[in-house]
Symmetry: C2
Subunit: 88 residues, 2 copies
Amino acid sequence: MGHPSRVYMVEELSRGERCVCELTEMVGADVSTVSKHLSVLKNAGIVSDEKRGSQVFYSLRVPCILNFFLCVEEVLKANAAEHSALAG
Amino acid sequence: MGHPSRVYMVEELSRGERCVCELTEMVGADVSTVSKHLSVLKNAGIVSDEKRGSQVFYSLRVPCILNFFLCVEEVLKANAAEHSALAG
DNA sequence: TTGCCGTTTGGCGTAATGGCCAAATGATTA
DNA sequence: TAATCATTTGGCCATTACGCCAAACGGCAA
């Protein structure tokens, strides 16, 4: 976790399963790079994969991970508020 | 985030403010190392610091980060269940 | 079998991170 | 001011993470 591409992928997977090709197109990196990120998430138990035909579909296994992103947003908002307070 | 020492420190800070010396003793690493971790957490907006006398006290600024740890535990439990299922 | 598509893995160079030591900073006391 | 304690910062080295390319793997169709 903590990597922008992985965060982005998890957010996308929260909307439903996606194949590697879709995630690759969204992230805009090399397929191998995306595959490795997914491998990390899979080993961490955050996503699960299912092979159908020649494609592999990933899905979010731990919905509570989204709470984390909500928290991150809260942090960012707090930071923004602080910075504007410092500026003004 | 994502680093064991930082996770440990955030968990500890969730119980109340701690000075650098306390966190250093708990983590068991060099003071400078702990200070750098705290600096990372501070820049990320996760903790805040307050200097009182010659000591600096850190406190958790974003309680929702704890939801993340609950989620992590859930992930670990899910993983453990899966592994035992594979084994059994 | 051959060829193609989707995906994964290995390798390599580069960038970032973590850890310690040493030095610098700031507060306190003598 | 000098000395001391608590903390931070800089330097250096070892380790890890990223990202791309190339190669390997598995499924599908001809």
